[in-house]
Amino acid sequence: MSIVINHLTFAYTQGGKPLAPTLKGLTFTIEEGSFLGIIGHTGSGKSTFVKHLNGLLSCEKGTVIVDGHDLSQKSERRTVRSLVGMVFQYPEYQLFAETVYEDVAFGPRNMKLDEAEIKTRVTNAMTMVGLDPERFSTRSPFELSGGERRRAAIAGVLAMQPKYLVLDEPMAGLDPLGRKEILSLLEKLRSESGCTIIMISHSMDDIANHATKVLVLEQGSVFLYDTPQIVFSNAEELQRIGLSVPSITKICIEMNRRGVAIPTSICTEDAFLHWFREGKAHA
């Protein structure tokens, strides 16, 4: 199963009149089990695009089909919302309940699960994000630290056990340790429960290190959609649209300029070190 996006076109309206389209005929497929990184300049349509994945916005032209559920059908949206989890920018601002437990249980409750199932899911989700259920369940979400609050909010989405997890800049405003924790949580989710991750990020390094596929959006169109190695070997094109390449790739490009024949498709530290040890690129 997969998410199939076909000629997705969307324009916001202002005062009843449509504005210039934000998304212009996107067509591609997100395979199950992949880790998709979405990059693009501010205003390229990244956030608008992900809102189509669970029907928060609905397109007039084109289709989005999640595991066979066509999102243009209004009746399918509720089903899809439990399949596609959505973590927005600064998700901690959506916390509202009296206790962390109740907040994490909000999603599962809306799915009309029974209490026992809700309890297992909440406990699992809290453990997953590193919030000890014993210590945190009864605390108010508003007395947690910033990082803990963000993880509590993410647990609220994980408790719905989505097959696809969409995250809009999940690491914004976190310290290096917090960023690392979120990224390793995403890796764990993908390897343990086979969850497909779709992540918007401005950090080329994070995308290069974790994504299996990279989508580059430029003014509402697909600019590139390929593996990180191929996408980041287009340094000049990326720079032209206001993006950049991972720092390790920058080093490779500079080394090349100075006469070292290192492939410029290297975009992770591992591949870089591997090249030095083996004297050849790690595909």
Binding site: Q14, R81, S82, M86, P91, Y93, Q94, L95, F96, V157
Partner: protein, 266 residues
């Protein structure tokens, strides 16, 4: 929810737009006084003519005035009917036994309805031609003399300005929170009224929390820029009372005087 616009200011470059906000507030108060002084339907023609002149000079399309009347249409109809049914009179037009339609009732109904329409239309003329910021500036200046009685004129105007500035921000914020809760399966559209009100809690609480946070941040940002209230504060846009303002006030006073003369004579 995205399309709500607060205040209905229509930017323009007309004589009316350029008047000092204080002048326009004074004009509106005098205009309201005029409509209340009138006790006879035919004399409403005087404030009506005044309004038409103002409308033509401002270059505002009649559509905006009609739009401002939309929210009160039910009130208008209700008031018209109540007066039609309950005003007692002698000149009977139609007798249905339990209720008599009289000359006086018809006149009274029209009189009160037209007066309300004139009041609301006149008040909208002020907000249509004056930006909310100019309006609070003008209000602050007008209320400044009350400071002798410890009336917080500056603080009040600052609060109004901040409140206006945060309306779009909070709209945006509530839309974001709504999207997030909808993604967690929240349902805001079905169920009876109690269920729907209860379903707003997951939006309202985060919204309150974020308003407090924003207020806190703003207070710190203002203090960092040495804000210490209105004392000794200068402004970038000085309000200036010009020739045109004097002229506008004089014309308005002329209308008021004319009305009083007519009322005394007839």
């Amino acid at each position: 929810m995205r399309d709500i616009t607060l205040g209905q200011y229509v930017a323009g470059n007309s004589v009316i737009h350029k008047l000092d906000p204080r002048t326009k507030i004074a004009m509106m108060i005098l205009y309201i006084a005029m409509t209340f002084l009138v006790k006879d339907i035919w004399f409403l023609a005087i404030p009506f003519v005044y309004l038409v002149i103002e409308l033509v000079l401002s270059g505002i399309s009649l559509k905006y005035i009609l739009n401002s009347l939309k929210p009160i249409r039910f009130l208008l109809i209700l008031m018209f009917l109540l007066n039609l049914f309950f005003t007692k009179g002698e000149n009977v037009w139609l007798d249905l036994g339990f209720w008599k339609l009289t000359d006086e009732a018809v006149l009274q109904s029209f009189f009160l309805s037209i007066r309300i329409v004139l009041l609301v239309a006149g008040a909208s003329m002020l907000t249509l031609t004056t930006s909310p910021i100019a309006l609070t500036d003008g209000l602050e200046k007008l209320l400044t003399p009350l400071k002798i009685f410890h009336f917080p004129a500056h603080e009040l105007a600052m609060m109004m300005t901040i409140a206006l500035r945060f309306v779009p921000t909070l709209m945006d914020e509530s839309e974001k929170i709504r999207n997030a809760q909808m993604s967690r399966g929240a349902d805001f559209e079905s169920g009876n009224i109690f269920k729907r009100v209860k379903s707003m809690i997951p939006i309202l609480i985060p919204l309150f929390v974020s308003s407090f946070r924003k207020a806190d941040d703003l207070a710190i940002a203002m203090e960092s820029r040495c804000y210490h209230g209105g004392d000794g504060r200068t402004r970038m846009h000085q309000l200036k009372f010009r020739k045109e303002d004097l002229f506008a006030i004089l014309i308005t006073l002329l209308f008021v005087a004319a009305l009083i003369v007519i009322l005394v004579l007839f």
